[in-house]
Amino acid sequence: MAKARGLVAVNVEECKGCRLCVEACPVDVLHLTNTFNTHGYSPAEYDGEGCTGCGICYYACPEPGAITVYKNWAEAQEAYICQTKKVPSRLTVIDSVKGLAQCEACGQEVILSNFSNLSFAE
């Protein structure tokens, strides 16, 4: 069994529900939902566990920002820098399916698919 060390976060509003990521994931941890996003597509969603961080779904997906993969979540969560206080912090996942975490330093919710606005220690 492949090691679950990654974390995948789908940006629901950028997803078009094409299913390519679902088909591509080698450990089968993505599925399409029955809900709709504001553009009328049924987006993909993470099962919530089992992502290896292989990145295959990222390259399978045609949308530039629909999928974000943290290749090594343990490393990422420890390297997190709080956006409000600008101090080294730590992330705890609060909803792996929706890709939500919490910043230890400020207590605020962090959207993991929004990675370009997050910072991590080098």
């Binding site: 509003e13 950028e14 078009k16 529900g17 094409c18 299913r19 390519l20 088909e23 591509a24 080698p26 553009h39 597509y41 990145g55 295959i56 990222y58 390259y59 399978a60 997906c61 045609p62 949308e63 530039p64 920002g65 999928i67 974000t68 993969v69 943290y70 290749k71 090594n72 490393e75 990422a76 390297a79 698919s113 990675f115 370009s116 991590f120 220690a121 080098e122």
Partner: protein
């Protein structure tokens, strides 16, 4: 150790503000369209090689016509099939930039078949991404040159047949048969492995250009779920089972390691070289001793119109020759019918001390009308307060407009008196110089000998100019 995250590339805009409508967070492509995957591979490579800022992405006509909504790079959208020609221009003018010609199969193999062959044959140092989805996507699924035998499209409702439409064109094979290209590969985007191979090809194509290796061509078999009437996963399956059987994958040519980097600066038109090309270095003219004070803000748009043979185009060229020597920005373009003589001709001249965007003159500040049809045709276009200079020997009507400066000149009559009706254009040049504040008579008199090299010709032309100049000065008084 830095955190490894795969996510939206910084070579894409955060939000797609150029995209009209409320949805500026998604691309305009259909769900599962291969264009998006290829965009991501290109964006990643540009960013990884540190050239995103320095890249010019040429979008074609086709579904990827709007690629400029997404790429945070230089963007130009070219006419159908002409991306390689536009890319050629950009690369030659800016050899340090990374130029990408991105084209569909209708664009590249049908309407633009000629352009791509010659760009490849010249070995332009660009990277071409050729999206082969075996169909015209944008216009609703018509047959492309790459459509397979038997494949149903809206224009081959019974399936493509050999007899009616011929064989699908294999562009990678054709391009690889030319001498100049350094790298030609066909890849597909159909599963994890093939997307990874496509990623490598994309990177190689861009790296070749960074290393100045010449023309790289990457053909990408890509899904069009909408045109194929399949789901996205089915489309990928069809690429694997059918499309790639007809378009064999592989490296068709790779000599990038064996060729020397090109010297792209060699033929560059640098500011230092242009005067030499235009012959300006030989005049050795300096106009610091000019008697005339040129206007501070010159922005003249001049249209000269008449019969072919009246020297309409020449007069325009002289104006630009003079302007160049006054250190002005100049442009000149001719417009004439197919007939050599007797037809109507006109030219557009701009003289300005700011850079000129378009050489077209639609609303002239000065109209020089040398026959009646010209006056009648262009009078309406002249700006309010502009001038109309017209040959009153040949034109038997007056301009109707009262909000312009009306300058009738019996140019042909004067030319005839001097000895040759064909120098009426020089008379008009004199008038222009005399009444305007942007054509220094001294400069004109120095330029005329460069134009009329024979002594007797020069003499009568100087005479004609002088006569016009006097008339022009009178208008001003």
């Amino acid at each position: 150790m830095s955190v490894k995250i795969l996510g939206k590339s910084a070579a894409f805009y955060d939000t797609y503000e150029r995209r009209p409508g409320s949805n500026q967070e998604q691309t305009h492509y259909c769900p599962g369209c291969g264009h998006g995957i290829l965009h991501k591979l290109i964006a990643e490579a540009l960013l990884d090689y540190g050239v995103a800022e320095n890249s010019v992405f040429i979008s074609p006509v086709g579904c990827s016509v709007f690629a400029y909504y997404y790429f945070n790079a230089g963007n130009i959208q070219a006419a159908h099939g002409r991306a390689p020609a536009v890319a050629t221009g950009v690369k030659r003018a800016l050899p340090e930039s990374i130029v990408i010609s991105y084209q569909g199969d209708g664009d590249l193999a049908a309407i633009g078949g000629n352009e791509i062959l010659h760009a490849a044959n010249r070995g332009e140092a660009m990277t071409v991404f050729f999206v082969n989805n075996a169909i015209y996507g944008m216009t609703g699924g018509q047959m492309a040159p790459t459509t397979l035998i038997g494949q149903k499209t809206t224009t081959t409702p019974y399936g493509r047949t050999l007899q009616n439409e011929g064989y699908p064109i294999r562009m990678a094979e054709i391009i690889s048969n030319l001498e100049s290209p350094v790298y030609v590969e066909r890849v597909m985007m159909a599963d994890t492995r093939s997307i990874n191979a496509a990623r490598k090809a994309v990177r190689k194509g861009i790296k070749n250009q960074i290393e100045k290796k010449g023309f790289s061509f990457i053909e990408v078999l890509s899904t069009c779920p909408t045109g194929w009437k399949m789901s996205a996963p089915q489309s990928q399956e069809w690429i694997k089972t059918t499309l790639s059987e007809n378009f064999p994958l592989g490296v068709y040519k790779d000599v990038a390691d064996q060729v020397e980097p090109l010297n792209l600066e060699q033929n560059l038109a640098t500011p230092a070289r242009v005067p030499k090309l235009l012959g300006l270095d030989q005049d050795n003219m300096s106009f610091d001793d000019s008697e005339m004070k040129l206007a501070a803000n010159i922005d003249q748009e001049i249209k000269i119109s008449g019969f072919g043979g009246q020297g309409v185009l020449s007069l325009g060229i002289w104006l630009s020759e003079i302007g160049m020597r006054e250190n002005l920005e100049v442009s000149w373009i001719p417009s004439y019918g197919p007939e050599m003589r007797g037809g109507t001709a006109n030219c557009h001249v701009k003289l300005s001390n700011r850079s000129i965007g378009s050489p077209l003159v639609t609303h002239p500040t000065i109209l020089v009308a040398m026959n009646r049809p010209s006056l009648e045709k262009f009078e309406e276009d002249v700006v309010e307060g502009g001038a109309i200079i017209w040959d009153s020997t040949l034109i038997d009507v007056e301009p109707a407009r009262k909000d312009i400066v009306n300058i009738p000149v019996p140019a042909t009559q004067i030319a005839k008196e001097i000895g040759n009706t064909r120098i009426s254009n020089v008379v008009l040049l004199g008038v222009l110089s005399g009444f305007s504040d942007f054509l220094d008579p001294m400069v004109v008199q120095r330029v005329l000998p460069l134009i009329f090299k024979k002594k007797h010709l020069l003499e009568i032309n100087l005479k004609a100019f002088q006569k016009g100049l006097e008339l022009g000065k009178e208008i001003n008084n």
